[in-house]
């Protein structure tokens, strides 16, 4: 059973989608929200597997809403007109649906969802239980000005502290997010993410080379070519972790 939340400012639009979803007993619509604020509250309380998200809403847009969430569930965008569709693809949403929703398109979107779920179960093996920790397979939504991305944590090589912000390195991108490195460190799974020094958290699975460095420290070269120093204090911990 998959828990879903419908977020759309129009009551009739939410009803119409609920009606279409009645053909899918495996998807249970557990809540509805009429704006981004309500949406955030319900997503954080319920922790759904899937959200149907309208893009144009009063107050904040659907994109703005996503950028305020820590952990992003699977997202299917719903919009009346496809000027936003391209943008949804750029952010790598699971799918997007044009309203009025064609039943066949909904079926395709749900099939995609099932494929995705299966893939994740295979690669995850076990189900992660601690809700406050972000694991490798979790995805986050990063918005930098007009551009936005869904990013799996296992694609992120490096977090770099820049004042109150953190620079997130993945692929060829390095947008800024408004989070401190200390706050991130608390949320990230320590099996994967390691605090190398005051300014950097590295993804242990995306290290390319390890070399000895001054003062008994280490120099890591990440898969993207970034060179990160491991402080002497952290080097002890690093060696312990890697030898396990």
């Amino acid at each position: 059973m998959l828990k879903a939340i419908i977020i759309d400012d129009e009551r009739l639009a939410r009803n119409e989608l609920k009606k279409l979803l009645m053909d899918y007993p495996e998807i249970e619509v557990v809540a509805e929200a009429a704006n981004a604020g309500e949406g955030i509250e319900k997503i954080e309380n319920i922790n759904p597997d899937l959200i149907f998200l309208d893009i144009q809403m009063p107050g904040k847009t659907g994109f703005d809403m996503l950028s305020e969430l820590d952990r992003i569930p699977n997202v299917i965008f719903t919009t009346a007109y496809d000027e936003y569709a391209l943008k949804a693809f750029e952010v790598n949403a699971l799918d997007y649906l044009l309203k009025p929703v064609e039943p066949k398109r909904l079926a395709d979107a749900i099939q995609k969802l099932h494929f995705q779920e299966e893939r994740e179960q295979v690669s995850n093996g076990t189900v992660n239980v601690n809700k406050s920790i972000l694991y490798e397979q979790d995805q986050v939504f990063v918005k930098d000005g007009e551009r936005c991305w869904f990013v799996k944590l296992n694609e992120i090589r490096l977090f770099e502290s820049v004042g109150n912000y953190a620079k997130v390195y993945f692929g060829a991108h390095k947008p800024l997010i408004l989070k401190s490195l200390n706050a991130l460190e608390e949320r990230l799974d320590e099996k994967t993410f390691f605090r190398a020094n005051r300014k950097h958290i590295v993804n242990l699975r995306l290290i390319d080379k390890i070399e000895p460095y001054f003062n008994g420290g280490l120099l890591l070269e990440m898969k993207g070519g970034e060179k990160i120093e491991v402080s002497r204090r952290q080097t002890v911990k690093f060696k312990e972790m890697m030898s396990l």
């Binding site: 129009e10 009739l12 639009a13 119409e16 009606k19 009063p58 107050g59 009346a80 007109y81 929703v101």
Partner: protein
């Protein structure tokens, strides 16, 4: 003179008033939901949508229409938006009946109301009020569209609806016509059109 008239006609035709596709598809989606919930309202909604689409197509052929005709389209339009917004949209009309025969450019009031919804009501979680006023001010037919909201949003985001309104008035009625949009009373945006009175 003949050439000038031709140029004017061509210019007017290029300033087409498009109905926002977002509106059309949202309306169709609402109507589909209404078919089960309130079939009588769904039937009316289809009539309203047809009137708007027909009027939008005719607008490309006509230079001016009686204000009454334009007002009816706006009423249909707002009835459809009410289905979407429900309690978030409140509409007030203050119409001097003597203004109903006055000539106006087709789909001009409609464009102003559409902007008022898009940038005013649609941006606010609790919605707001749209007020439409038509009366005489001296030798002018005055049209007002007011909405709850703030102007800064409106001016930044949509130049087209506003500049096309200005151009159409200029081409049809010359310097005697006027169009302005401003913030009044802190939380109300007012679009105001002045057209010289035509005596039949």
């Amino acid at each position: 003179m003949k050439l000038e008239a031709l140029v004017k006609e061509l210019e007017l035709k290029t300033i087409k008033s498009h109905i926002n596709p977002h509106f059309i598809f949202n309306a169709l989606n609402s109507i589909r939901a209404l078919i089960d919930e309130n079939p009588v309202r769904a039937r009316d909604a289809i009539t309203e949508l047809s009137n708007i689409l027909r009027s939008s197509m005719q607008a490309e052929k006509l230079e001016i229409v009686p204000f009454e005709k334009e007002l009816n389209i706006v009423k249909d339009y707002l009835a459809l938006e009410y289905i979407r917004f429900e309690d978030r949209l409140r509409v007030e009309y203050e119409i001097d009946e003597d203004t109903l025969d006055q000539p106006v450019p087709p789909m001009m009031l409609q464009t102003l109301v559409e902007n008022a919804i898009k940038h005013g009501i649609g941006k606010q979680v609790s919605g707001g009020v749209i007020k439409i006023v038509s009366d005489f001010k001296g030798d002018y037919h005055e049209l007002l569209v007011e909405n709850s909201g703030h102007l800064s949003l409106l001016v930044n985001e949509d130049g087209f609806g506003l500049s096309s309104t200005r151009n159409r008035l200029q081409l049809l009625f010359g310097d005697k016509s006027n169009f302005e949009i401003k913030q009044v009373n802190g939380n109300v945006v007012q679009a105001r059109v002045l057209i010289p009175v035509t005596i039949n």
